[in-house]
């Protein structure tokens, strides 16, 4: 009983600090960053974001994609190769990126009954990966694959292992309504920064940030 109370207090405390900037001073080291690649257009958007980052600040980089999506990790590896070649001066300091695959909660057309089992499996796998990587930042943009990863990151905050900054960018395909994943993260208040790519969405969901489009 008292354990539950402590847990509830922790959740409350973490939620209260969510969305507050990390620190007024510049971090002394690069941030371990985990990118969740959502397949297809989602992956294209995320890689566009990766290409614009100052890579000395976001290192080492970890990429996660669904087990059923082999294309995304190949595309990320191609981009990383290209970026390494461009950043000739920094080649000695940069660590090699790492790539992981995660089980999906639910495949298209899967029944709701078996979904319960596969969701539990996917959540356990996501938690294991996040504990293993222990990222400073999680960057994701949907679809559902990123939900267990974000929850695992949140859990790390709650138990006090690490403060993981969770950043969600709603897909450019969402013009008027948030995706289910986006809506859940928005309502739960789990993400520290929630970007949208259309001003119409910012108008409807005031706690989002509109900073133009990724594509």
């Amino acid at each position: 009983m008292s354990l539950l109370l402590v847990l509830a207090a922790r959740v409350f405390l973490v939620l209260r600090n969510t969305g507050k900037p990390i620190s007024p001073v510049s971090p002394q080291r690069p941030l371990h960053t985990l990118f969740v690649l959502g397949s297809g257009g989602h992956t294209a958007e995320m890689l566009s974001l990766v290409g614009a980052l100052n890579l000395q600040r976001y290192a080492p980089r970890y990429y996660i994609a669904a087990v059923t999506d082999s294309m995304s990790l190949t595309r990320a590896a191609t981009l990383e190769d290209h970026l390494q070649k461009c950043a000739l001066s920094a080649s000695s300091s940069s660590q090699k990126p790492k790539f992981y695959q995660v089980y999906r909660s639910r495949e298209v057309g899967q029944s709701y009954f078996t979904s319960v089992v596969t969701t539990l499996l996917a959540m356990t796998h996501a938690l294991w990966l996040v504990v293993h990587i222990r990222p400073d930042v999680i960057l994701c943009n949907g679809p559902g694959t990123c939900l267990p990863i974000c929850m695992a990151g949140f859990l790390l905050k709650v138990v006090g292992v690490k403060w993981v900054v969770i950043v969600y960018v709603e897909s450019i395909a969402r013009v008027k309504k948030l995706s289910l994943t986006g809506l859940l993260l928005y309502k739960l208040g789990v993400s520290d920064q929630f970007f949208v790519q259309w001003s119409q969405l910012k108008a409807r969901f005031p706690n989002t940030i509109y900073m133009g489009r990724l594509m």
Binding site: R57, I172, M211
Partner: protein
């Protein structure tokens, strides 16, 4: 072949989806006639997970040359070497085509359950970056299409978002590009 009004190839893509309604529609005599009347000489169709196979044609009888394939690891080369792209409404295909500065007709799959893709296609069509159709209206849209009315898509950059993120994480504002 080689007539002065040969505009080149039309590329049809469904990405990794199953969209036989689109493949059937572009394979129809009516659609091929409309494309030929605009001056296009060939049609290349990427089928994705669909099972409907179009009729191949070598175009020797003066009609449209038709060929197809299922998947390719990278569609960028097909897009950049085509004169017109007809695509499903996936954001990957849409932005790849817009960034390649190719005229684009997006066909929305109206059989999809949660069809949020319509939102994006219609928003971009409102801004005249592309033309939007459904399988049933495709022939009509192609017949009346005026590519001169399209506006080039202004490529967006992620730098404003990246600067906001950097500031949030405590990095100083100044961004040193690599």
């Amino acid at each position: 072949m080689g007539t002065s009004r040969d505009k080149g190839r039309v590329f049809v893509t469904v990405g990794t989806t199953l969209f036989d309604a689109l493949v059937k529609e572009v394979d129809s005599q009516e659609c091929k006639q409309v494309l030929a009347s605009h001056g296009y000489s060939s049609l290349l169709i990427q089928l994705g997970r669909g099972s409907f196979l179009p009729t191949k044609s070598d175009g020797e009888d003066g009609s449209l040359k038709v060929d197809y394939f299922t998947f390719a690891p990278n569609l960028a080369d097909y897009i950049s070497s085509s004169a017109l792209v007809i695509s499903h409404a996936g954001s990957g295909s849409i932005f790849e085509t817009l960034r390649a500065k190719k005229p684009l007709v997006v066909v929305v799959n109206d059989l999809l359950m949660d069809n949020h893709q319509r939102e994006l296609a219609e928003e971009l069509a409102d801004k005249k970056y592309l033309l939007c159709a459904s399988p049933s209206s495709l022939v009509h849209v192609l017949r009346s299409m005026d590519l001169q009315s399209l506006v080039p898509y202004p490529p967006s950059t992620p730098f404003a978002l990246v600067n906001t993120l950097d500031a949030f994480l405590g990095f100083s504002e100044s961004y040193s590009s690599t």
